[in-house]
Symmetry: C2
Subunit: 495 residues, 2 copies
């Protein structure tokens, strides 16, 4: 091992620990902090971001990278992968100059703040100039990263969230879904209109009891960290101190339960990353699409199955005592698979969700390339909504204004949701083939073999392999849209 | 304003924000963090400490200080005071080299860990080598700071906790107490044996009800931040997000109540520091003795008064419902003033507490100067305990092993407890003279004028004046032991 490589490990450990501190403060801000403390917290976050920025921009880092790469043969496979991830992180961080980073921080913070009011007042027009500024700066960022990373501009943005994800692959996968999903949706709705009798949830489910049941499920799945409450559920903290949140609606326990299961999927990934590499870039989760594959595997593949609901139903019935609702496994299953197009992405079901994502993917590619301008967004949004989901939003509040991603400057993130759903289906297919007893185990609440499979094939590999390699090693093939479509056919076109 | 001074303000704002982040993570570690996350939190704290250290050791800081001081006439009074505090902080931080800081961190962390077991097993002998190492390193630190700050070694240590506090002053004040307190204690105990009939607390006080009552009191006093639970109660967070903690004993509500009132005193100080100067050294609290004067003013001067207990008694009675205890104001008053020597400092009453502190002050001066060695500590401790409090600990666990301060490397801190108690009495005397209606207001639960007096005379002045100047401005005289002794005479030698 060269001195240069050793210096990089020390340097990136400091980078990692400062980022970890930042993550804990974000958790506190969302879960514990009094609202009136936002300004002083802003100062802490800015100071930490500056320290992180100064650390990665230390002029010695580039020299160390060159020196370590010239002697990479002296490193083992994980060290080599680590060096590769260091270079990638460094390229992303140093390709955009400080002035642009500051302008972006300011523009997105203003735009986010203005967006909240604009969504409430259904006022795209007054919001447009703020978004225009954000898009202009993201275009600059994309151009700078494209040149540093030798990628197309939108690919460079996606790469920031999801290493190695490129339009060349995503376009082809999404084209399959674009063609098949509208047909599947119509068939599923027709089938459900004939066959799906559901007794709706209509009781009172005290928060405390929901919390208790949620804890039973997440502990059974193997998550050992905290569960708290926040306005927007998330998985936060750091490997070594992973924390998830949810919110409770006392009229409907299903939302919180599905949310906790989703975040537990994220949490298990973070929790099971290799402790040995925790301080290094190669020890990070592989990227947002693989991360989402973990949450959606747990939420959609595992916990919406009849097997899981046979295990869960008695726990729910006991948690809520006697209720008039039908908390039978079969009714819970049917509650989870109802298909109906909705204007709002976060309310979408499993069949229609990808169309929401593809709509945004197509629009943001055009926004970044300059084919589309901000003022033309509402019209383009509504046309695509009609084309993909057969509905037209009655207002921009229910259309283009619904998500925080664009006001917040996140472009290139949306595709990871649907890539994650597809990857989750592929893990599930392979896992079921390799663990034929999975169904019986799930019914008994024994998730050790299943989570063990994820641990071995995904969690413990961290960033030592690409997303494409992880899939190949565990499932024998690259990401395959057929597997996802088969999963949807099986679940939605038969009883 | 010079460019050098402006650069210093920017630089110290970063220093302050990083320290604030550190403070929030300490709060989380004590209140929220799962125990198993201690190792990863250790990484975050170490990384932040390193970033803070690098920031203050930036070679430009010394040059800026020189340049700004040479043109100090262009600064206003607060800026000049700020510059003075910057120099002092910089001297403390840069006088000790990194190697010593690292050795101290390692030695105190080992020594603290070993001390827990040694106290449990009453085993001073095995612990002595760890403490010897800590003392050797503190002697080095004291010598380095003495030379940089041009102070005596022990004064240099005290100055790190309490700017401007010197043995010359403390020796004289403590000599008065040393002479008077044993007499006062004997008289008070004799008086109480004749006159003090107390009905002890013996009910069950659910944690939830104690929490509710505590919140009523702290809100009435004006504290607006969080109240949580931790093993060791403390006031944490940062100005702008002050948070206090307590712990509850369901068999005795008095401990938690007194604890919350004490921490509320600290919290009001932090909360009321001038927002305008929050990011700068001059905006910090004045030092540990003034800080303790705020907690002890609220706990001892204000809330152990009959007037406060007339306000508090009905709130307690309502919080706990019907109980068999005597929750009358007079019984609560008597519960709070019982005098009895105890081996353990944190259990000590108001009359005997200073003797505990003076004992430690005398011993640690001798440890630092080299007059006393670690192996001779238990004998010296027990002799002084007999001399000052008339009791001899039956074991080192109840003697020299009781406090975490020395295992943790804190030498020069103890005197601030008793200086704080004396300063609190002096605030109280001045305040009562200037606000003749204070007693009626307290009985009504109206603390606005009293806390307003503290805000004007102490909180809002932050570090713009020395402790000595604060006292002179608000009370017309320097710290005066007579005022404290008069307070004790009045409370403990009459009914």
């Amino acid at each position: 091992m060269t001195i240069a490589y050793a210096s990089l490990e020390t340097h990136f450990a400091q980078q990692n620990a400062l980022s970890g501190a930042l993550s804990m403060l974000h958790w506190d801000a969302a879960v514990m902090m009094p609202e009136s403390s936002a300004p002083v917290r802003g100062e802490h976050l800015a100071a930490l971001s500056q320290a992180i920025h100064e650390n990665i921009n230390d002029p010695r880092v580039g020299d160390w990278l060159d020196a370590a790469e010239s002697d990479a043969a002296s490193l083992d496979a994980w060290q080599q992968a680590n060096l590769h991830e260091m270079r990638r992180k460094w390229q992303h961080a140093t390709s955009v100059d400080v002035k642009l980073v500051r302008e972006q921080a300011l523009a997105t913070s203003e735009s986010e703040a203005f967006w909240r009011g604009a969504r409430r007042n259904n006022d795209f027009k007054s919001f447009a100039p703020y978004l225009k500024r954000v898009v202009a700066l993201v275009r600059e960022e994309a151009a700078a990263k494209a040149s540093a990373l030798n990628l197309l501009p939108y690919d460079a943005l996606m790469d920031g969230y999801d290493s190695g994800t490129r339009m060349a692959e995503v376009d082809a996968l999404f084209a399959r879904l674009n063609a098949e999903l509208p047909v599947l949706r119509e068939k599923a709705m027709a089938f459900q209109a004939e066959n799906l009798v559901v007794k709706p949830i209509a009781g009172h489910y005290p928060q405390e009891n929901q919390h208790k049941a949620s804890e039973i499920f997440m502990r059974a799945l193997g998550f050992t960290g905290r569960l708290d409450i926040s306005v927007h559920p998330f998985c936060g903290g750091v490997p070594g101190d992973v924390r998830i949140t949810t919110r409770y609606n006392e009229a409907d326990f299903v939302v919180a339960m599905q949310g906790v299961l989703h975040e537990t999927g994220h949490a298990l990934y973070e929790q099971n990353l290799p402790a040995k590499w925790r301080s290094q870039p190669v020890g990070d989760a592989r990227g947002m699409s693989v991360h989402e594959s973990q949450s959606l595997f747990v939420e959609m593949q595992l916990c919406r199955s009849r097997e899981f609901l046979r295990y869960a139903a008695p726990i729910l019935a006991e948690s809520f005592g006697q209720t008039d609702d039908d908390l039978s496994p079969e009714n819970l299953y049917r509650l989870g698979i109802r298909v109906k197009p909705d204007f709002i992405r976060v309310n979408a079901d499993e069949v229609t969700y990808p169309s929401h994502v593809i709509l945004r993917y197509e629009l943001e590619k055009d926004l970044i390339s300059g084919k589309l301008e901000v003022e033309d967004l509402p019209e383009a949004w509504n046309a695509k909504m009609q084309e993909k989901l057969g509905i037209t939003p009655p207002s921009d509040a229910l259309g283009v204004l619904q998500d925080i991603h664009w006001p917040g400057g996140s472009f290139g993130y949306f595709p990871t949701y649907t890539l994650g759903a597809m990857i989750a289906a592929q893990w599930a297919q392979a896992l079921k083939a390799q663990l034929p007893a999975w169904g019986e185990q799930v019914e008994k609440g024994d998730f050790s073999a299943i989570v063990g499979w994820l641990k071995t094939n995904v969690h413990e590999k961290a960033s030592s392999a690409s997303r494409q390699e992880l899939l190949k090693q565990a499932t024998g093939e690259p990401l395959n849209a057929d597997i996802y479509l088969k999963h949807l056919h099986d679940r939605y076109l038969s009883a």
